[in-house]
Symmetry: C2
Subunit: 78 residues, 2 copies
Amino acid sequence: MKSKAIFYHAGCPVCQEAEQNVANALDPNRYDVEIVHLGQDRASLPKAEAAGVKSVPALVLDGQPYHINFGADLSALN
Amino acid sequence: MKSKAIFYHAGCPVCQEAEQNVANALDPNRYDVEIVHLGQDRASLPKAEAAGVKSVPALVLDGQPYHINFGADLSALN
């Protein structure tokens, strides 16, 4: 069974670069990668916050948040 | 041809967790992943700095630095 990976971003340049490189570098045989644009999909904000996401871009692997560089604080999207 | 991925860490708990999850999640068919412990391998510090690494843990993919969460500032290792 594949693990779940969720990549949260907000369309910022730092986000897009991380998406193209880090999110796309994950092993597709082991991870189902979901890309969530929190600027457009605000309904997903509580889920991201519950996973511990503080800023974007962030990658949640098996429920653990990994903040990758820094694009924007999550509070700026609320 | 595989791309080069270098995961820099310093043995800190944040580093180890990121190594086990993020570094190991990369697609082995596309990336040769090298793990560098900057606390033990100080000769690699200039290379990490030249790639733009400011803190550990960090992942350098195709020469681009991605800082993953925050364990320690690189200056603490110099």
